[in-house]
């Protein structure tokens, strides 16, 4: 498993549309993808829009993204890049 701490940079946070885009990308990978706010213990399924929305990830939130599986390196690279470039 690989984990990285990232900051949500989208000015409007991870609302429905960016959350949907993130999940769509995450679903392309075989690895389990989870995301967790640093101030919360609960890990959320990164492939489920509903789960991500319950996290209410605002702009500036620090999150821990974890990818676990055969394609975890590629998954982390793709999703990390997506989170840092989403502007919606």
């Amino acid at each position: 498993m690989i984990k990285e701490i990232l900051t949500i940079s989208n000015p409007t946070g991870l609302h429905a549309r960016p959350a949907g885009r993130f999940c769509e990308e995450a679903q392309k990978f075989k690895s389990n993808i989870t995301i967790r706010r640093m101030d919360d213990e609960q890990t959320l399924n990164g492939k489920s829009v509903i789960h991500i929305l319950t996290g209410k990830f605002a702009c500036g939130s620090k999150v821990e993204l974890a990818c676990n599986g055969d394609d975890e390196v590629e998954a982390m690279d793709t999703l990390k890049s997506l989170l840092s470039t989403i502007s919606d």
Partner: protein
Amino acid sequence: MQNIIDINSIRFGYAATDWREAVNESGKLLVAAGKVEPQYIDAMIEMVEQHGAYMIVAPGVAMPHARAEQGVKETGISFLSLQEPITFPLKEQNPVSLLIGVAAIDSSQHLDAFGRIAALIANETEVKELITCTDVMKIFTLLNT
């Protein structure tokens, strides 16, 4: 804390013939509660036309919305269950029976509203109960808690 859903924003068993009718009614319920201007309804429909039905966030549930500057007066949501499911363009495999319209005055309240609803519809059993519910006070209390 102000109620996020108004009694006038709840409707059950609406007979929509297509997604536009369903989103239109969802928006009208927000207008009825004084949360949005009428033009917000067109903006909700345009959002689907331009960006697709990304707001089908759980099986059977869509959360149509538009941007704050497109006519939001106050943050609020509407609850509309359908008599028969409808489908959105390119999402024909995901029929929708429940529309929760969202109006948010800023991105923080937008995230908060979506987060609250998401927590309620995170499992299929709860979604089924919401879709078949005909008790206005139950929905009013549940969504305002």
